[in-house]
Amino acid sequence: MSPEVLVYPFLFITIFFESFLLVTFLSQPARTCRLTTTVRSFPKVAVIVPCWNEETTIAGTVESLLSLDYPQEKLSLVLVNDGSADGTAAVFERFSAHPQITAIHKENGGKFSAMNAGIEHTADAELVGFLDADSFVAPDALREIVAAFEESDVAAVTASMSIHQPRTLLQRMQYAEYSLSITLRHVLASINGLYVTPGPFSFYRRSVFTELGLFKHAHLAEDMEMAMRIQRAGRRIGNAIRARVYTKGPPTFKRLLKQRIRWTTGFLRNLLFDYRDLIGNRNNAVLGMLILPLGLAAIVGGISLFIQAIVLGIDRALHALSLVRTVPLSYTFSWHQVTWFSFPLTMTILLGAMLMIGTLAWMAVGKRLSKTPGTLAFNVVIYLLLYGIVTPIWLLYSVSDVVRGAHTTWR
């Protein structure tokens, strides 16, 4: 049996998922979500910014929030200094006199504790949102978010994240990846299939905290845990695709690895240890029967395909090397005519190419619908070159950490 056969199930599942995305994208709920939004009322909104050693970025974050196109008397900001050891407290001082801002200083207790401390100071807000201190928002983002709360059963709303001014190759890769995530979040939200309300600019109705409780440590993935809690309670998580929020993606491999291991172990631990009942749950079939099982399958598939590719790649590379060393190099690198007959077209190559085109199309859709600035073309090339290599590395580390019960750290 050709080793290629082992790839077929994963290819089929991915084709099925992309087809599901397409059908759902064209369905009525997603089409409605994409309609131009108008805010009919302006509820009181509070935005909490948890900070831990963010002296270099926090000022930009706060200034972008103060520039939001929203009535000032309806918008308040709560800055929470979670025991920073750098100059974060000094930056807070610059904003402390601002009428819209409340600054809190507390001992370091982790991001979830900072978020909870902020919630305590938002008693009069109908909607409570969060923004990571390395992110900033477009002026119309809050209006888009508020409009997405029009339907009463929506408990939380997520925004469209993108990488701000990507410079390194890894940031460029993330730019393309985030463009794809914008589409995924938009489509899945239309059928209530989200299992994470990301730190950058996700909003909640106050009732979420009063009825379902505050944030938990949740294996350093409090945003996933809260989303799963909302889903378990049978509430909805929406998405405002034109609510743009920009974040600074990790510029180095070491920092990216750290971030992704935290995300992936958080997903695995929350799902497998605390929310296993969501898998296969028919009450929310989208999440229970499709998204969560596929999320687990993606991890298994990513690792097994990577190992298979490594083993096959080394084997073929050694074989090719032994052949090349047999004859003069000039012969190997001379022009050998390629005809349709000898063109190496296989099921895997053809299906893989189709999936790749589909993925690139979804990236372009995400960027276009969210009106995210920047150039996708070059970043897509970097994505194609790097993503398949770096992703399995953090998947392997994450699975290993979860199996061994290793402690995951924030930075």
């Binding site: 084709i15 099925f16 087809s19 599901f20 709920p29 059928i191 079939a285 052949l323 007959f341």
Partner: protein, 221 residues
């Protein structure tokens, strides 16, 4: 029916349709490859028979009036390369591939015999290499030997290289192996009638050729 169930079913249909279409396209392409090989083999078969007949008819005629078999050898080499591609794509145990290989081996043997007859009649001294290989996993150096021979054939076009799968179950090939007395010590070469076994390096293989054969023409690489 809920939107989720409806979309899942439609997506499943699309996925099956896409996968099925791709599988059909690949099968169609492989069949086209087989058809192309069959067509080339048919043409070669006619050409070989024609040359053989021509040679018999004009046995007493001057050598110049008998068409050379060189062009047939070139076509055979091209067919061999294509067969190798087909074997990689469809697998060495594919019935059609085996049938084509049998036919190819017969053509090679016929061309080899004609070349020898022409050489004897016309006093030519072609350099022929009979190469025996196995792709049953019992010949670690066969790939390297095959690649080295491809290089030699491309570099010195006057070389006539004939490749045979030692494991092919074909009466004519078994007889040919018996006549040439090739042992099952693969890769095996018979260079102008002299046996040589194993492959260590291109230089060692080149030493087995008669003196001057590989230096009479200008290498292309």
């Amino acid at each position: 029916m809920s939107l989720f169930v409806r979309n899942t079913l439609i997506a499943l249909l699309i996925a099956v349709a896409i996968t099925g279409t791709v599988a059909y396209a690949i099968t169609y392409l492989n069949n086209a490859r087989i058809a192309e090989l069959s067509a080339i083999e048919d043409q070669l078969s006619i050409d070989t028979l024609s040359l053989d007949t021509q040679f018999s008819l004009l046995e007493a005629a001057p050598c110049e009036s008998v068409a050379s078999s060189t062009t047939l050898t070139d076509k055979l080499a091209d067919l061999g390369s294509r067969l190798s591609v087909a074997e990689n794509q469809l697998g060495s145990d594919n019935a059609q591939v085996i049938r084509l290989k049998e036919q190819y081996s017969l053509l090679e043997i016929r061309d080899y015999l004609i070349t020898k007859k022409l050489a004897a009649a016309c006093g030519a001294k072609p350099t022929t290499v009979l190469y025996f290989y196995s792709n049953a996993g019992d010949c670690a150096d066969c790939d390297k030997a095959g690649y080295a021979l491809s290089y030699l054939r491309d570099t010195y076009p006057s070389l006539r290289v004939y490749s045979f799968d030692y494991n092919l179950d074909l009466g004519a090939l078994r007889t040919f192996i018996a006549v040439t007395k090739v042992k099952r010590d693969l890769p095996a070469f018979i260079i102008n009638g002299r046996p040589y076994y194993g492959f260590t390096s291109l230089a060692d293989l080149e030493k087995q050729f008669p003196k001057g054969v590989l230096s009479t023409s200008t290498p292309k690489f």
